[in-house]
Amino acid sequence: EAGVAQSPRYKIIEKRQSVAFWCNPISGHATLYWYQQILGQGPKLLIQFQNNGVVDDSQLPKDRFSAERLKGVDSTLKIQPAKLEDSAVYLCASSLEAEYEQYFGPGTRLTVT
């Protein structure tokens, strides 16, 4: 069974530029999560989708971050414009509906200069 796929793995941009990350969850997983992991911290949930609907985006900085999950499968997370403090690893995870184990992708390491 293929795991959660993410791309790109690394990205370097200048502040005020925009960037997008892509996530392909495990086939059949209805729930998809985006986390931000700043160096030295644990992952923090940004947004959670159930199929293509948003369950929780309370910690998503909506003035610059946006996310979508079209057709309830793949998802993209966008930052526009980026700030220095957005430098982090962005992790995508997925789980079966009504199941509790989340499977994580390898993450995208973003550096904002």
Binding site: G40, G42, K44, Q50, L91, A93, A98, Y100, P106
Partner: protein, 117 residues
């Protein structure tokens, strides 16, 4: 709101020695508790989880954890550490979303484990 504290930022142990990583949580109801491991450049892998029942939980790679409600703790243990266990370990508490069939994870800041050959 729930929170997780991992008091030890960095622990170094010798290969073959025993290991205990500490985790304390704050949550109003019965917690769902998890331990994840993250190797450099990798995503998180679930080691074990506690939902209810037996307070001693067995996981993968020879790890176990004990839930102690009176101490609000969920410490991770391994009797004999291998060099390949060097990684970062995260404790997390899960709170379910009502009616959504899923839950929100709140992570601690992690404990980095180094293993001396």
């Amino acid at each position: 709101a729930q929170s997780v504290t991992q008091p030890d930022i960095h622990i170094t142990v010798s290969e073959g020695a025993s290991l205990e990583l500490r985790c304390n949580y704050s949550y109003g109801a019965t917690p769902y508790l998890f331990w994840y491991v993250q190797s450099p450049g990798q995503g998180l892998q679930l080691l074990l989880k506690y939902f209810s029942g037996d307070t001693l939980v067995q996981g993968i790679k020879g790890f176990e954890a004990e839930f102690k409600r009176s101490q609000s703790s969920f410490n991770l243990r391994k009797p004999s550490v291998h060099w390949s266990d060097a990684a970062e370990y995260f404790c997390a508490v899960g709170s379910p979303y009502s009616g959504a069939g899923s839950y929100q994870l709140t992570f601690g800041k992690g404990t980095k484990l180094s293993v001396i050959p």
